[in-house]
Amino acid sequence: MTATGYASGGLFEQEAFELLTDLENGLLRAEEAPEDGDTIAGIFRALHTIKGSAAMFGYDNISAFLHEVESVFDLVRSRLLPVSRDLIDLTLSAGDEVRRMLQGAADSEEDRSRAKGIIASFASLRANGGNGEEVRRPKSGAAQKHAEKDHLPHTAETPPKCFQQRRQPPAVVRRIDGARSGKHYCTA
């Protein structure tokens, strides 16, 4: 029995996985349109809902973990912190961590250490005012430069970096644009 006395019968877990997908889709949109207030509000809402519901159903680890993440996005939606490359990458990592916690696969010392590291990075981001590469609306050539940072030759046949790094298919859905535009993404 959870500390609150509530049990969701699996509904919270199902909902949380869906919200994590919403979160990742929101982060993808924020990468393309960092000044879109609705997108940022959606990201905050996903984090906030997972955090609040987690506490109700006994996932104190998720609730505690997301506290700093939510605080940072509260600043972003108040336009006190910009959307940066670091923030997007860090939040994607946070989503992966929450996924592991939901699956009950985040109990080792290594897992706890990794989670602490992510939280520390968010705190640092907040303290430094988000000084990092700010994501701006892509202009001509900007997307190409971003893609080149992956250090992979971009052809339609080359598996993008995210497939190679993730153990499970990425939940982030991106377009495959082909060699023509130089933009190459992963599909879920």
């Binding site: 969701s8 809902t49 609040g52 609730s63």
Partner: protein, 121 residues
């Protein structure tokens, strides 16, 4: 006849938990997934109190409270905010908009019933 309470939250698991608690305590429950859904259902049904989350898509808790207080028939309808501790500013905003009170998440079933009984008299 049972008193009917509305629970408004974009989280289905929270709605389920709150509904279960209210039903066990003898209340009838209407669920709404956001402020707009709540307004549509309030227009169709009579309720004795509203329990609402703050952060919801389409129309949030503050927007819902403002609508409720704008209706002559709902000016004194008890509206309880379900909120997290870190949202102090939002709590004050809710109070200014006309919220009757709030419950901090996470809460236990007995806390929810105690607050409800207090506002229902």
């Amino acid at each position: 006849m049972n008193k009917t309470i509305m629970t408004v939250d974009d989280s289905a698991s929270i709605r389920q938990a709150v509904s279960f608690t209210l039903s066990q305590a003898g209340y009838d429950v209407i669920q709404a997934s956001d402020g707009n859904d709540a307004i549509n259902k309030l227009k169709a049904s009579s309720v004795r109190a509203v329990l609402t989350d703050l952060n919801m898509p389409n129309l949030d808790g503050i927007g819902l409270i403002k609508w409720i207080r704008s209706q002559p028939s709902h000016r004194f309808l008890p509206v309880i905010l379900l909120t997290t501790e870190s949202q102090d500013a939002k709590k004050q905003e809710g109070k200014a908009a006309g919220a009757t009170g709030w419950i901090i998440k996470p809460f236990k079933p007995e806390q929810l019933i105690a607050v409800l009984k207090k506002v229902l008299g």
